[in-house]
Structure formats: C-alpha cells, structure tokens
Amino acid sequence: MNMMSESAVEKALDQKMSDASHKMIGKDVSVYYGEKRALFDVNLNVRENTVTALIGPSGCGKSTFLRCLNRMNDTIENCRVTGKITLDEDDIYDNNIDVVELRARVGMVFQKPNPFPKTIYENISYGPRIHGLSKNKADMDQIVEASLQRAGLWGEVKDRLHESGTGLSGGQQQRLCIARAIAVSPEVILMDEPCSALDPIATAKVEELIHELRANYTIVIVTHSMQQAARVSQRTAMFHLGQLVEENDTDKMFTNPDDQRTQDYIMGRFG
C-alpha cells in the first residue's frame, strides 16, 4: 500500500517536472574573473521541483555558474557577470534586487559542512531571526523542529539542541547545514559538492534527503561524482571549458548522451 502511494507521488512529481515551468532561466550568461573569461554565453534553465546536476571536469565553470544563481560571485573581487538570470521572471542582477532577500529565496549548501560555532538550535534559528520569519519563541521552536525534520536530523539531535553544531559528525553537520538552508523557506537550494567530504553512508543519507526535498524545492547540485549525478538528478548539464556542452534528461545522459565530450567525460576516457 505504502509503496503504491509512494510511487504515485513519484509519478506525480515526474508529471509536474515534465510540464514544469522554468524556475530559473539563465540567458547568455558569461562570467569574467578580471581578464579571464570563465563562462561563455551559457543558456541553461532550471526546472521547478527538479534536481539539476551540473557536471564537468575541474575548472569547467560549473561552480561558477552555480554561484551566479544567488549572486555569490558578487563577493569575489574582479568578478563580472553578463547576460541575464531570472528567478520567477525577476531579473536577479537588477539593481532593485535585495541580495540578502535573494539569498533567502535561493539558499546554498557548501562542499565542507560549515555550521556556525553555535548550538544546533541557533544554527537553524539564525536565518529566520534575521529575516523576521518568527513572531515568538514557540514559533521559532516550530521552525527549528520542522527544518530538522525535513533534513532528516530531528531524531538524531532532538535531545541535544543546545549542544554545539560543530560537535556533530561530518554527515550530520552537512544535514544541519541543509536544515539551516531550509529554515528560511527558500524556493531554490544550490549545493556545491555537498557530499565530497562525507563517507558513503552519510552521502547516502544526504542523497536520500535531496530526493525528498525535490517535492518542495528546486535543487541545483554541482558534483564531481558522476554516479551521484546519475543517482539524484532528473536533469544533467555538462560543462567543459566554460561552455555548456549538453543538457539532457539524466536517464538519457548516462545511457546515450548526444555529445561526444559528455560521452568521453562520463565514461572516463581521454577526450
């Protein structure tokens, strides 16, 4: 019974994906670090309620593109972004956009788990507090619990919410960071190699979490592990030398990609 309803949910999600609107649209996106051009006119759309994986060899521009999606590149000196990126039709590089609010809508999880050196509770409550998302303590308790529940961490930490977040294991810390990202109710979650510092069990838990989060969020993940891209994503985009080589359904990408460079890269061949 349970399995049937789960597969029904899965089906509904796939349906939702196939006629999904584009949550974010990147048009002719180029990025320059000083004189050096890192991205060349990338046109890539991110579908709603879909996990989109960005793959490609080191230095191909996938992380650069990811960071464009919530203007993290603004923090890098000499970095210049051209082209247009929209979030629900709002131009995120428009002068009127509040970058702090943008980053609440487009959250981010990094390669290394980076919890604040504070308690587990405070790690989660920080974002909602500065964004004024809770009215009182009870409200905040609820946000903290819900976020930890969604991140699949509640059962493991509910009795030590006031212990330091840095005392958790690596995998738990990463899920804490995901809970922290969720706490401000983002629409899109960006993940930059979220499992590269984790062991296989912790990786599996994060991947399971990504799978579940897809129902409520739009996810873009950069990964060096091709198997991970194949496991968690519905769409895959392959970058090479700053260019988007191919974007396709993940199933197609890993059985019969259109582009020779994709083929060579995912099969571990010399290009």
């Binding site: 194949a230 890993f254 059985t255 019969n256 083929q263 099969m267 571990g268 061949r269």
Partner: protein, 237 residues
Amino acid sequence: MASTHILSAYDDELKYLSRRISEMGGLAEQMCSDAVRALVNSDAALAQKVISDDVILDHAEREIGDKAIVTIARRQPVAADLREIVGSLRIASDLERVGDLGKNTAKRVIAVQGTGVPRKLARGLEHLSDLALVQLKDVLDVYATRSAEKAEAIRSRDEEIDAMYTSLFRELLTYMMEDPRNITTCTHLLFCAKNIERIGDHATNIAETIYYMTTGAQPEGDRPKDDSSNTLGAITE
C-alpha cells in the same frame, strides 16, 4: 572505440569480453556447420564432437557473465561502456543458444543414422544451413567492426532463411504423406530444420544488439519475417 579509458585496466576488461565473444562466435559457427555435415553424411563421430564442444561454449558464456558482473561492480560503466557490457551478456547468451541448437541437431544424427537422409532433403538442409551460417558469420564480422549500418542490413536478411525453412517444411510433409515409414526420419529432420532456422533468428538478435550497442537506440520497425510454416497444412478450402 577510438579513445581509451584513463584506467587502462578498464580497457583490458572490455577487450577481454569482446575477445571471448568472438571466440564463442567462432566455436558456435563451427559446431553448427559440423552438425549439419554430420547429419547429411551420417557421421556419428563428428556428431559426438559437436555434442562435447557444447560444454566449452556453456563454460565460456558463464565466464563472460562473471566477468561482466565484476566489471559492472568495479567500474560502474555508463553510456557506450554500459551498452557494450550489457550487449556482451546478450550476445553471449544468444551464442550459447546457437551452440545448443547445433548440439540438438547433432544428437539427431544418431536417430536418423539407420535410414539415412534422402539426397534431395539433404541438399535442402544444407542450403538452409548455408544461409543461416552466412548470417551468423556476417553478424560476427559486424561485431568486430561495430557497424550499425551493416547490423541493420543483416537484420533484414532473415526473411530469406524463413522462406527456405517454409519450403523445406512443405517438402518434409510431402515425404511423410507419401510413405508413413518416412515419418520418424522426417520428424527428426523437421526439428533439425527448425534448429537451423532458429540459428538465423539468434544471428538477427545479435545484429539488433550490435545496433543498440553502437547507437543506443533500438532498430526501428518489425523484423521482416517470411515464416508461414505455422499455418501450413491448415485446411483452407
């Protein structure tokens, strides 16, 4: 297969699979041609050799299966590599079946030995087996070159074998009707003809697998068929 993997051991594993498939193909081809020769010449010794060769073929199929599983587990192949390995498994099982059909034909040599095979039927069987073996040989050559185009061409040739089989079927029926003493021999020969016709089908399967391995797509359209033996002899007046 122009470029190679960064991990050379991976290349070696894939090469091992394709080498073993080619070997299996060569043996299966030899077995089938020997089986038909043993049949038309009533050569029991040759038939016995075919029967014992089947063990080698079975063994090769299992080894290919084991190696493919280990390669999948160790390398997590994707795209063309994955299709290559899955294709190897399919082709190995087709070739193993071809060997079984050769063996079954060889076993019947002993049963028809006493009466011998009428000249005309022997020629018919030889012709049928020539067609099937050419099909098998060609498909193994295509396996070596991985040409999707040629694989598709072979697939469309199965029709000829089917037509030949139907005509042989009709002939065997006639013999049986002429003299009931022919029934035992003719029934065995009918099974032999069916075996040979099935070899053509397996060759066609292999052609389809090669097409898939190379292109990632299934060949389009139904495979052409001209086997009307399944309705032959039905009263149509």
